[in-house]
Symmetry: C2
Subunit: 243 residues, 2 copies
C-alpha cells in the first residue's frame, strides 16, 4: 500500500488493476462485498466506497441481490458526430439503432423556451420525448421542443425516424445551423429511468438550438447520454492559411 493514500483509494486501485489485467474478466461477477472485506481486512463501508467509485467510472455495474460485475463495454460506444454534414441519425457501428417515442405533447411556452426559440407569448409548442437505442440499450434520452407553426402536427411517424429529416421532407424546414452546449450532469430520477442507469451517473447533457435557412430558431432540445458508454468524436478541418 502506498504512502498517504486512503484505504478506499488503495482498494479501488487494486480492483481496477485486476480489471485491467483481466483477472476480473469482462462480464464476469467479482467477489461479493463481504469476501472483499475479508480479503482486504476492512469494513464494508470502505469496500463499498471503492466499488461505487468504480461503478461511477463505468468499470463495474451492480445488481441488488445478484452481485457486482465487470462492465463488458470497456471499449465505449462511439457516437460519431461529424461536422461536415448534418445527420440526425447517430451512427453506431454495427448496432441496430432504434428510436422509441415516449410522448408527443403540446405545451405552453415557458420562459426558457421563449428565450431559446424566440416565440411569441402563448404560442403552443410541441414537446417530443424520445429514447434512442442501440441493440436495445438506451444510448440517448432526448426532449425536443418545436413550435406548432414551424411544423404543425408532428406525428409518431415523424418522430420515430429522424426529426430533422421529417422537418425537411414533411414541413419544408431546412436546418442550416445548430448551436450545442455540452455539459456534464449527474443522472437524476428521470434520466436514470430513461437511460436505465443508476442515479448519480455522470452524463453528457447537450442543449441544442437549431435554426433553419431563414435564420428562424426551429428547435430546442435537451439530450442526455450515459457518460460511461458514450464517446463523442469531432472532426475539424481548418481552412488553409491565407497570409
Amino acid at each position: 500500500m502506498e504512502k498517504n493514500q486512503s484505504l478506499h483509494a488503495y482498494i479501488k486501485e487494486e480492483l481496477l488493476d485486476r480489471i485491467k489485467s483481466n483477472k476480473y474478466k469482462k462480464g464476469e461477477k467479482i467477489p461479493p462485498e463481504l469476501e472483499l472485506c475479508k480479503e482486504f481486512n476492512v469494513s464494508r463501508t470502505t469496500v463499498r466506497s471503492a466499488l461505487n467509485q468504480l461503478t461511477l467510472e463505468g468499470y463495474l455495474y451492480r445488481k441488488q441481490g445478484k452481485g457486482t460485475y465487470v462492465a463488458d463495454q470497456k471499449v465505449k460506444q462511439t457516437l460519431s458526430s461529424t461536422v461536415k454534414r448534418y445527420s440526425d441519425q447517430i451512427a453506431i457501428q454495427g448496432k441496430k439503432a432504434k428510436i422509441e417515442l415516449i410522448s408527443i405533447n403540446v405545451v405552453p411556452a415557458t420562459e426558457i423556451l421563449k428565450k431559446s426559440l424566440g416565440v411569441k407569448p402563448k404560442e403552443p409548442i410541441q414537446r417530443i420525448e424520445r429514447i434512442r437505442r442501440a441493440n436495445g440499450e438506451p444510448t440517448q434520452y432526448e426532449v425536443s421542443y418545436i413550435p406548432w407553426d414551424v411544423a404543425p402536427g408532428i406525428t409518431q411517424e415523424h418522430a420515430e425516424v429522424s426529426l430533422y429529416g421529417s422537418l425537411k421532407n414533411a414541413f419544408d424546414v431546412h436546418i442550416a445551423k445548430t448551436t450545442e452546449h455540452i455539459e456534464i450532469t449527474l443522472a437524476d430520477e428521470i434520466i436514470s429511468t430513461r437511460l436505465e442507469c443508476k442515479e448519480g451517473l455522470p452524463c453528457f447533457y447537450i442543449e441544442t438550438i437549431a435554426e433553419d435557412d431563414k435564420g428562424d430558431k426551429v428547435e430546442f432540445s435537451r439530450s442526455y447520454f450515459r457518460g460511461d458508454k458514450t464517446n463523442f468524436m469531432i472532426e475539424r478541418n481548418y481552412p488553409p492559411n491565407k497570409e
Copy 2:
C-alpha cells in the same frame, strides 16, 4: 417527504432547493454536518451522502476544518470552441487567461503513442504538460505529445503561448485537421491536483490527434476539464441541400 425516496435523496433535494431558492446564498457557508443531522434527525452518513452528491454536481464545495460552501459559479464558464476556424486559445469571456508550463520532457514512444502518431520505433517524443488558467483558476490540464522531428526543441517560450501557433510560426507546421474524442472521466489523484479539485469529480476528457496539411500526425494530446465549471459550445453550419 416523498413516496419511495431514500433519505439521502430527500435531503439532497431539500438542500438543492435551498440553494436554488437562494436561502443558502452563493459563496456562503451552509450549516455544518452535525447541525443538518439534528435538523433532519438523521445520521451523519446520510447527510454526508447528500452533501457529497451536491459537491460532485458542482453546487457545493467543502473544506476540511472550515465548512461547506455554496459554489458561486452556478453559471458555468463557457469555453467556446467554434468549428469554423482553428484556435488553440480558449476564449474565456472577460477573464485573464494564462498558460502555465509544468514540464517539457523527451520520452520514448509508447504503444499508444506509436499508434496515435504513427512514429517509427524509438523515435523520441516531446511531452509537454501544461495548465490553462482563467483568473488564476485552473480550467484545463493538458498533456501534449509532439515527435521530435516534427518540431525539434520545443522551448518554454513556445509552450507558454499557443502550441499550434508556435508550430506554425517556429516550425512551419500547419495544422489542417484535428480529431477529438470526448469522454467523461473522474478525476484521479493527478488530475485533481492539477485542476485543484476533489478526486472523483466528473471531468471532460478529450483526446486530440492533429494532422498537418501533408496529412502527417503531428500532435497527440490528452486534455482534462473540470465538469462542474466547463461548458463547451459547438456551432455547426450545414451545407444547403443540393438535391
